[in-house]
Amino acid sequence: MNEATLQKLKTLAESAKYDVSCASSGTTRANKTGGIGSAAGLGICHSFTEDGRCISLFKIMLTNHCIYDCAYCVNRRSNDIPRTTLTVDELVTLTIEFYRRNYIEGLFLSSGVIRNPDYTMEQMVKVIKELRTVHRFNGYIHAKSIPGASQELVREAGLYADRLSVNIEIPTEQNLKLLAPEKDHQSVYLPMSYIHQGMLENKDERKKFRHAPRFVPAGQSTQMIIGATPETDQQILTLSSSLYQQPSMKRVYYSGYIPVNRSDERLPALVTPPLVRENRLYQADWLMRFYYFTASEITDKGQNNLDLEIDPKLAWALRHPEMFPVDVNKADYEMILRVPGIGVKSAQMIISSRRYGKLGFWQLKKIGVVLKRAQYFITCSELPAQTIQEIKPENLRLQLTEKKKSNPNQLTLNFSA
């Protein structure tokens, strides 16, 4: 550990930062005597960078040397950037020392591909194996599975890691081949299925032997770049929803394309990353995972792309005025969840509180319902306000997207006269 390591750390952190995933949840591992660390059921974010993203795991690359030349990646072969490699020892010491100071929740190890996929994967497995077996580290470990690595290596990595992930990067294969000629979807889906198979077999095994070692207890995740290629939101969401069909797939991340390689003609010339679109996609993702929406509902009635002005739930409600208003004192949970302005927590509180008596606007507001939006879609124990039925969806849309006006009581001075 010295100045040289510090320089390496800076370089490799720069290379690793574009990976979105930082979850440290979904696994429980109590600390054992003599070991260090534990993985609580819920993840903990230990810091936040100035772009507002959390730092939960020590996100780092083993090396940023790479044999591939993917157009969307900072670490592609043809880029002129400083290249370096951390040794197994350096990585292990950094992880343990950062962990002991409560800087991080665990390690997220990724790597550029050196020599061949198997060799790279071997090096990564060495790091996480040493952490778990030599240092008895019980913190969270997320490792990238290198596309093209053999099933045996993925299996071994899965014994030490809490989560493995393979990034899809580009939603359709034809565009992936355009930007990354050396890759295809096969190289992504194959390791995904290795992980999935491993988890299923492990589940069976643990039914027979309760103490059989666990295999990626926190499942797998993946990531897609948004806005580098012309896929529509509908295509993206349909792909995500089919990925979520696999029980091992815990999260799909969306990463607004940041023009890291400006000179490439195959990529759009964006000034700023499509952050709003990324946000809308995450909202849609949440609707699929926690609000019982399907991908086809979110983009129904010919909506190929999500509305950037309003969130996907409000957009759905405006397209379906026939479902509203909903009586919060009678409707079932799934329907209350569909009301814009009511989230999972409020919906659960409504369900449990209405057993004691009817709820009115005042109580809903106290519970945390955003009445600004919800009032047009609900009825409660009080006199109904104007709902979507009276106002009509197109007017309501205007009303809700209207920018805040200045105070109408404030007189303006006209200097032009």
Partner: protein, 254 residues
């Protein structure tokens, strides 16, 4: 106006509840002994904490409420706000008097208010777990100062004891002037008259630091800086996720 004075301990508070039922006097306000009394305090009762009385109230509550609601009461009590004792008093009264459990009736303002405080205190405890930064001293003790809004250290200590069971550590609340020390066996409460740290940023004196401590701090700072994606800078979100009041003791923020 009936004013109950108590010693600010949880036991003392439960004794207040006991005495109120025994004397059939409903307090208008419950105040810590050190606080200034409100005007027109005509009927002031000094309640001294009594373990047996407190136990009786606690046992009675356990019969009326679920374990989750009981632990909620003890957590909300840690909140630093003068309204808390009265809020919990009303909550307990409602719980005892109601024929069936009130704990999920969020239409009731006290139940909802208690639930909100529970969330607030829980969130502050989570933030302590998130934002504690240990510094290694030359005698291998990992030290971290904190200054949370509420008295949440007791809620976070177990987490550190589990996680860092093979290192000595000390977490110290500089606002309430007490902390917890773990000596590889047990966790004990400690207080210091004088703490040898930089009061502004909580750094221990450089000559007391372990040899490699400043290098790792430097590395963490460099790493933190490198992780930022400049195209996505969002100071508002940054402050929302990591409130400014915690920056004081954060290694990466100096």
């Amino acid at each position: 106006m009936n004013i109950f004075l108590y010693d600010a301990s949880f036991e003392g508070f439960l004794t207040v509840v006991f005495e109120s039922y025994r004397l059939k006097i409903v307090p208008d306000t419950i105040v810590e002994e050190a606080e200034v009394l409100p005007l027109f305090s005509d009927n002031v009762l000094h309640i001294s904490a009594d373990e047996q009385k407190a136990q009786r109230v606690w046992k009675g509550l356990k019969k009326k409420l679920s374990p989750a609601a009981c632990s909620m009461i003890s957590v909300v009590f840690l909140a630093d706000d003068p309204s808390i004792p009265m809020l919990l008093f009303r909550y307990i009264r409602k719980a005892i008097d109601a024929p069936k459990s009130i704990e999920t009736n969020f239409g009731d303002s006290d139940v909802l208010e208690a639930a909100k405080w529970y969330k607030k205190v829980g969130r502050e405890a989570e933030r302590v777990r998130q934002f504690v930064r240990f510094q290694k001293t030359e005698d291998d003790i990992f030290f971290a100062p904190v200054a949370p809004l509420h008295n949440v250290l007791p809620l976070a200590v177990e987490h550190f004891a589990d996680r860092f069971s093979d290192q000595k550590w000390l977490v110290y609340d500089t606002r309430r002037k007490y902390g917890f020390f773990y000596d590889l066996q047990t966790t004990v409460e400690v207080t210091f008259d004088h703490l040898q740290i930089n009061p502004r940023i909580g750094k221990i004196n450089p000559d007391m630091m372990a040899e490699d401590e400043s290098l790792f701090q430097q590395m963490w700072k460099a790493y933190f800086k490198s992780m930022t994606i400049k195209e996505r800078i969002n100071p508002k979100l940054h402050r929302q996720n990591m409130p400014r009041r915690f920056w004081r003791y954060l290694t990466e923020k100096h």
